[in-house]
């Protein structure tokens, strides 16, 4: 309750200032000093309404002012957010940079982007997955076309990978769980990597989302937001290579990977044309959030593999305005 009190006190101070200006008015009572809880709550509610009204009035006044001034109006203030105040990242990819572009064009995922391979995905879990993880896998299978779920059967990943290569899979997705809750995601691109390890959180299955739509079998469109740095590009390319080329636009299905402050939000929608102007979105689920833990060169080998990037909390999270994706 502390912050509320603080606010009230601030208001009180302002009121006191008013008092000093014209002495005649009676000072308003300090709400936080009222000992009767019901009365205090009521007073507080009133105060809140008053404040809201004042704020609205101020807003309207400003709007009117801006209209009356026309073009000379002061520019609209842009709020300072953590993202807009981001520390400048020198690894930001520039489209005109030939070195980076050529480097990217020759990486392990180039076969997908040159349309030599089409994605074929194997989804599996850790050993003995619980119900929720299984459900999550099933929904993942529905969202990603050309994917299959295989039961892990206690097999080593390092033994699965050569077999999967033989059978022509291009990616393996492994869902890990802890305390019956999916909490980790590993994506290994075949045949030569890279391997990404994510923390998985806030999983909401389709059954847990209100007014969820029904999924169709169309190939979805893909939106990758804010993968601007060199590392972000590598990650974004892996996500892109999970989905087939040439989305079927008549299905109006969209899969979004939205990166904000290094958290990657996965959303799955169908857009609906309400009328000529308005477009609506229907959530199809599932929803989840990913956070990159490491990017490893080559297929999964956590012991002997070379890491391209490892998240080191104590070294990297020195500034709240510094992001790596």
């Amino acid at each position: 309750m502390a912050p509320k009190k603080m606010k009230v006190e601030n208001v009180e101070e302002e009121n006191q200032k008013d008092v000093t200006e014209d002495v005649q008015t009676i000072p308003k009572p300090n709400i936080s000093r009222i000992k009767n809880k019901i009365l205090r709550n009521e007073m507080y509610k009133k105060l809140r309404v008053e404040k809201r009204k004042a704020k609205l009035k101020e807003k309207q006044r400003k709007k009117k002012e801006a209209e009356s001034m026309g073009e000379e109006a002061p520019p609209k203030q842009v709020p300072k957010t953590i993202e807009s105040m981001r520390v400048k990242d020198e690894t930001m990819v520039n489209k005109e940079d030939t070195e980076v572009m050529l480097d990217e064009a020759q990486d392990e995922l180039a076969t997908y982007f040159n349309r030599e391979t089409s994605p074929q995905i194997l989804i599996t879990t850790c050993d003995r997955p619980c119900l929720r993880t299984n459900k999550f896998c099933k929904e993942l299978k529905l969202t990603i076309p050309n994917s299959e779920i295989k039961y892990r059967r206690g097999l080593d990943l390092k033994k699965i990978i050569p077999q999967a290569k033989e059978r022509g899979y291009t990616d393996i997705i492994i869902v890990n769980e802890d305390r019956k809750e999916p909490n980790g995601l590993v994506i290994t691109h075949l045949p030569e990597g890279p391997t990404l390890h994510f923390k998985l959180s806030s999983v909401r299955l389709t059954t847990e989302i209100k007014r969820v739509g029904e999924m169709s079998k169309h190939k979805p469109e893909l939106i990758l937001n804010n993968f601007g740095t060199r590392l972000g590009h590598s990650v974004g390319r892996v996500f892109a290579s999970l989905f087939p080329h040439d989305p079927q636009f008549q299905g109006r299905r969209v899969v979004t990977f939205h990166n904000q402050r290094d958290f990657i939000f996965f959303r799955h929608h169908r857009y609906v044309f309400r009328n000529n102007k308005r477009v609506g979105l229907k959530d199809l689920g599932p929803r989840f959030t990913l956070k990159l833990r490491s990017l490893q060169k080559g297929t999964f080998d956590s012991k002997y593999g070379e890491y391209e990037w490892v998240h080191k909390r104590k070294e990297m999270e020195t500034s709240r305005r510094k992001f790596s994706l």
Binding site: E90, D97, L102, Q106, R230, Y304, E308, E315
Partner: protein, 400 residues
């Protein structure tokens, strides 16, 4: 973009994209010495060395067994030479009296004369490291996965001069696997340091025994880079696949100093032969320069994943210029009395980190000296005078 012209290049870095990069550390600027259009991952640079002691020309070995030479005077590359026709990856190229000695991962170490194989050694399969003795240049070391450290004299090719013996079985009486990833000769001695993929660092003494004399382990990931410390022969700098860089005291068997700020695997580390500076590069695409004296560090983004590193033994070319500039400017300030605002406006900000610290250090020393004897050496005197003048001027400025 990097500056188009840099006169002095202190560090050369070979990248996975096959580009050679030259870096000027004091300016923190770099440039691509290859054309950026020629990016080709099959031409990954795996080996860099100086052509001769003058440190002017750089010999570049690429993964596809081609060797080129970069001339610093003309800033051009010589025609590339292909060493060997078989399917293999190059591990290293060194020069011996102007002739190439190459090593490929299948284990063939060959001495080339005029494009012909003069002598050939088979060092066994899966070679990971190939190293030349800096003092006796005909001595080479090889080692790899399940391929123990061997030391060869390229002129006497039949048998290795020295073959290491695996360490004793562990406490479960199981054989310890072998995976030599790096080797470095200790100059002017019969000792050699190795690092392994099973996170051990070892020292062999060729005179003493075939097993390592000293053995320690560091962290739990493969060690991929190793460098010696010129000041202390018991200390080595190592880097591993998760970006841990540390100075280890192999005698005490524990890390002395651990460096922060690396995000990815370290491919190459080099301790500067004279300065207290460690230069490292790797898959995180940065060149990191850490100071061993204090916590200062510098990193330069080089756009590609980096695989090898070559340092020039003297970095002082540019630094000296800067220092002179500093001195001159301070004198100018102390001579004139009139337009201080103009002078302050015209002053350049001296941005080299080391410089400031030097000044600080000298100031500190000076303070101590003052306390002790009340005497000051000439250099400190100058600086302190100029500083005092500055302070005075600031004060007068405020009054005015």
């Amino acid at each position: 973009m990097a500056a188009p012209m840099l006169k002095v290049l202190d560090v050369f870095v070979g990248s996975e994209t096959g580009l050679l990069k030259g870096i000027n550390v004091s300016k923190a600027e770099w440039l691509n010495l290859h054309d950026t259009e020629s990016v080709d991952k099959s031409k990954e640079i795996v080996s860099l060395c100086w052509k001769d002691e003058t440190e002017t020309d750089v010999c570049i070995g690429s993964k596809n067994r081609t060797v080129t030479i970069w001339h610093s005077a003309t800033r051009t590359f010589s025609d590339s030479l292909i060493l060997g026709t078989e399917e293999s990856k190059l591990r290293g190229v060194r020069l011996l009296n102007g002739d190439y000695v190459s090593c490929v991962d299948t284990g063939l170490v060959r001495l080339w004369k005029d494009g012909e194989v003069e002598s050939e050694i088979n060092a066994g399969k899966d070679v990971f490291t190939f190293e030349q003795n800096p003092t006796e240049r005909n001595i080479f070391a090889t080692g790899g996965k399940e391929n123990e450290l061997k030391i060869w004299d390229i002129e006497l090719t039949e048998n290795p001069k020295f073959t290491a013996k695996n360490v004793r079985n562990d406490w479960l009486n199981l054989r310890v696997p072998v995976w030599v990833t790096c080797a470095r000769f200790l100059p002017k001695s019969e000792k050699i340091f190795t690092a392994t993929g099973h996170h051990q660092v070892r020292m062999y003494d060729l005179k003493a025994q075939r097993r390592p004399v000293l053995d320690m382990s560091f962290d739990e990931y493969p060690i991929t880079a190793l460098s010696l410390c010129p000041k202390n022969e018991n200390e080595v700098v190592v880097g591993n696949t998760v970006g841990k860089l540390a100075v280890l005291d192999i005698r005490k068997g524990r890390p002395v100093q651990v460096f922060r700020g690396l995000a990815g695997a370290i491919r190459a580390v080099q301790h500067h032969p004279t300065l207290p500076v460690i230069v490292s590069c790797g898959l995180d695409r940065y060149l990191h320069i850490h100071s061993t004296d204090d916590k200062s560090q510098q990193k330069i983004y080089l756009k590609s994943q980096l695989s090898v590193l070559l340092l020039k033994s003297s970095w002082d070319g540019n630094d000296v210029d800067n220092e002179e500039e500093v001195v001159v400017k301070t004198e100018v300030v102390s001579d004139e009395d009139g337009n201080d605002d103009e002078i302050w406006g015209n002053m350049e900000v001296v941005q080299t980190k080391t410089k400031r610290e030097d000044v600080k250090n000298s100031n500190n020393k000076k303070k101590i000296k003052r306390k002790q004897t009340g005497e000051e050496s000439g250099e400190f005197d100058k600086q302190s005078k100029s500083k005092n003048v500055k302070n005075k001027k600031r004060k007068t400025g405020i009054k005015a």
